[in-house]
Amino acid sequence: MEIVYSISAFGILFSMMLALIRAAQGPTVFDRILAVNMFGTMTVLFIGVVGYLTNRPDFLDIALVYALMNFIAIIAVLRYRDFSVDPAEEAENHEHS
């Protein structure tokens, strides 16, 4: 079983990396939000897998918290982000940095 968990762990890490790149690059706000949300989901999975990999199934408790917190954080982003800014302008701003 361990090999399966290992492969999935690395698979998750790989997709985390992809999400990371998107979050770092943007260019629009939506890219980042989605990337973060996805990253959160990946983390939940990852912790679950690591829990089984190291024979600590109680890690699932933590995974649960992550899922919840991820949800709340994304709600916050959506709630408090002023989306009236034109996404294209946002992208342009990013270029300058």
Partner: protein, 325 residues
């Protein structure tokens, strides 16, 4: 071996994110990335088996921090003004600190080395071998936190209280914003949140009391509790939440939590023990007294939970109810 590989990759992630955050002038991106940073470090804590820490990191770092940062960004601007001059000095400090840290690793005992003094010391041995007989609590972390070093935890609770006082001092009374925050007219979010909130509360209670057996305890539970209210405030509006949990009462709860903790300690004094000596609770003088320990830990954890919950919620109120400058 696999774990090592995973650890290295995660550290690489951390490294990359730190650099990206440092270079970014876009504060929104920085907040998002710091959320990710926090998640990854929580993963690392999990791998290092510091589960309670990972728990807190996830709840505070990734969850509540992001929420608060977003609210603050809402009050200010998205973009950091460009620095006046290149910040060479901070870079030097960072490099120097890093250098010293790397230097320190030279003689550092390997991670998890059973021969290392830290694992051989009297202190660790006592924690590992005697904590159960003394308190009947399987989770050593909880015993250390709430009993052996319960005084530190009282201090940490006071830190949370101090933070709340500091924010209240600086931001003053809850002031209604001129433009009332708009309601989200999104039925999905509303229904989803409403369905979720009771479970979050339930889960928070579980975390609070499950701390004796697994990762959890007052700090994490307090954050979870607050998270439920924050969610409520976000999908409806903070004013709705104010009706359910008036700011004044919440502010008093911050103080009450600390007082509860300290009161347990002082009660021990009156029972003839030392400060925070739970052994004298529910007892006639026998030692060890697991029942006393148990009730003591339960009470102080409740105090911690109360303070953390109320402090978090207060922070949310203070920021969320503020008008945009």
């Amino acid at each position: 071996m696999i774990i090592h590989g995973i650890t290295i990759i995660l550290f690489l992630f951390l490294y990359v994110i730190a650099i990206v955050i440092g270079r970014s002038r876009n504060l929104f991106a920085a907040v998002m990335l710091s959320g990710i940073f926090s998640l990854i470090s929580a993963c690392l804590f999990v791998i290092m088996d510091a589960v309670d820490v990972a728990f807190t990191e996830a709840a505070v770092g990734a969850g509540v921090s992001t929420v608060l940062m977003m609210i603050v960004l809402n009050l200010t601007s998205d973009r950091e003004s460009p620095p006046v001059q290149p910040k060479v000095f901070p870079l030097l400090v960072a490099l120097l600190t890093g250098g010293v840290l790397i230097y320190a690793t030279k003689d550092m005992p390997a991670f998890g080395d059973p021969e290392a003094l830290i694992h051989q010391s009297q202190t660790t041995n006592h924690y590992l071998w005697h904590s159960f007989e003394e308190s009947h609590i399987p989770n050593v972390v909880t015993t250390v936190l709430a009993s052996y070093r319960g005084y530190d935890t009282l201090g940490e609770t006071t830190v949370v209280f101090t933070a709340a006082v500091a924010v209240m001092l600086l931001l003053g009374h809850v002031r209604e914003s001129e433009t009332p925050p708009k309601l989200i007219n999104d039925p999905i979010a509303l229904v989803g949140a409403k369905m979720l909130i009771p479970y979050i509360l339930l889960f928070a209670l579980y975390v609070q009391f499950h701390g004796d057996f697994g990762p959890g305890g007052g700090f994490q539970a307090g954050v979870m509790f607050a998270a439920a209210f924050v969610l409520h405030g976000m999908v409806l509006s903070p004013k709705h939440t104010l009706k359910a949990a008036p700011a004044l009462i919440i502010e008093k709860l911050v103080a009450l939590g600390v007082l509860l903790y300290a009161a347990v300690g002082i009660y021990c004094l009156f029972k003839g023990g030392n400060f925070l000596e739970y052994d004298v609770l529910l007892s006639h003088g026998e030692k060890p007294n697991p029942h006393g320990q148990h009730i003591g830990i339960l009470l102080v954890e409740a105090g911690v939970g109360l303070t953390v919950f109320a402090a978090m919620l207060t922070l949310f109120y203070k920021f969320a109810l503020r008008g945009k400058a």
